[in-house]
């Protein structure tokens, strides 16, 4: 199996979030969810809010990643994310409150509400909850 490992890095503006070797990494892009193995064709994809699953030897690691992009090369995958969180860093209460708030904003349909922003907030809160739940 060792031959099938490649380097995975997740970097956020404030820290190197994750760096290690994995056999597969799954994440959500604007085009849908994808899984990447070693020797993938060089591709640049735009990330959508979602759960990243890193398949390490023996265990899977999960994290929430919101917006950013990923550079996939033969031997390496780099995720440049604006926000990334491990499950234990997520505040469930806050995520629930954010979901309720976003839902309320969307359903009100006021002219002054930025619908796109509210939808994004809703998606983020759902991703956070799905990671824990």
């Amino acid at each position: 199996m060792a031959d099938n490992n490649f380097k995975v890095e997740i970097i956020t503006p404030d820290r190197i979030f994750y760096s290690g070797d994995a056999s597969m990494v799954e994440f959500n892009t604007t085009e849908g969810e994808i899984g990447v193995y070693k020797n993938h064709v060089p591709t640049t994809v735009v990330l959508a809010p979602g759960v990243v699953t890193i398949h390490e030897e023996g265990e899977n690691k999960k994290a929430a990643v919101h917006s950013g992009f990923a550079e996939i090369l033969n031997e390496k995958v780099t995720l440049l994310a604006e926000i990334a969180e491990w499950p234990d860093e997520i505040d469930v209460e806050r995520a629930k409150a954010a979901e309720a708030r976003a839902n309320e904003r969307i359903s009100r349909k006021d002219a002054d509400v930025d619908l796109k922003r509210a939808e994004l907030a809703l998606r983020r809160s759902l991703v956070r909850q799905s990671l824990i739940g």
């Binding site: 085009e31 640049t44 735009v46 992009f69």
Partner: protein, 287 residues
């Protein structure tokens, strides 16, 4: 020779100035530690972003996109990052000098987006047009602040009001070396050496969704992250510069106090000698 009282007054005033500079040095040392570790943790993202975008653009030849093409009309925008407070040695004036010495930017053809009061004052004084003032950001820069400023600039860029976006900030090399740096953000400018470096691996990059949309999404993030990195480095540089300035101010004050103490003692001795001579002369006159 100045009188004893004058010297004494001068010495007290200098020693109270010294107390202030000493305290400021301590404060900026603490702030520097914090800013430095913050800067160190942001640098990887900053560098990766720069390298990734460069390699990405090199691997994708023949893409036409407004973010990548040179334009003639419109003004040149410069984001100027300085500090809100002075007493930081040459920190702020170096940034102003960097812009003034750059022949590309004249007061007529460029517009300044200032983050930090000090450079703004310096630039308005020299006739540059200030497009907007975001100085409050400098107190505690966050990624959201950077995103907001970038959003504003990119809108102006898309509307054709500005043709280029440059970034002037102070690069934090280490605690004592800070280099004023000018960086071109848009259109994305790839230097020749990087072209050579990556020319060897001629892998063609795929984009998902298509290249144009991907660049549309990625370039704003690139600009934002560079700005954020610059803000964080500027904060570290500011505190480093202030620490150095205050350190030398404190030691200069020490030197002056030493000199004044010497002349004070001399004056004191002089006055005692004079008094003695007067008394003796008086006594002799009586006897």
């Amino acid at each position: 020779m100045a009188s004893m009282r004058d010297i004494k007054r001068r010495r007290t005033s200098i020693s109270s100035t010294q107390q202030i500079t000493k305290a400021m040095k301590l404060v900026s040392t603490v702030k520097l530690q914090k800013a430095k570790s913050h800067a160190e943790s942001t640098t990887p993202y900053f560098n990766y972003m720069y390298n990734t975008v460069c390699s990405m653009l090199l691997k994708t030849k023949n893409i036409h996109h407004p973010y990548l093409e040179k334009r003639e009309e419109g003004k040149k925008a410069v984001i100027v990052i300085s500090s809100n407070r002075g007493l930081a040695g040459g920190y702020n004036s170096n940034i102003v000098k960097l812009i003034r010495d750059d022949e590309r930017f004249t007061p007529e053809n460029s517009v300044m987006y200032c983050i930090g009061h000090k450079a703004m004052e310096g630039l308005t004084h020299r006739g540059y047009v200030v497009g907007c003032d975001e100085s409050d950001v400098m107190e505690a820069p966050t990624y959201e602040d950077a995103a907001r400023v970038c959003g504003m600039l990119l809108e102006a860029y898309a509307a054709g009001e500005i043709s280029e976006i440059h970034l002037a900030y102070t690069h934090f090399k280490n605690t004592v070396v800070h280099v004023p740096t000018m960086l071109q953000l848009l259109p994305v400018d790839i230097t020749a050496e990087e072209q050579e470096e990556t020319a060897s691996d001629n892998v063609l990059m795929n984009f998902e969704p298509n290249a144009e949309e991907a660049i549309n999404m990625i370039i704003p993030k690139y600009v934002t992250s560079l700005l954020y990195g610059a803000l964080i480095e500027a904060v570290a540089s500011e505190n480093g510069a202030r620490m150095q300035a205050m350190d030398s101010a404190t030691s200069n004050a020490e030197e002056m106090i030493d000199k004044l103490t010497l002349s004070y003692n001399r004056a004191r001795q002089g006055s005692i000698t004079q008094e003695l001579t007067e008394i003796i002369a008086g006594a002799e006159a009586i006897s």
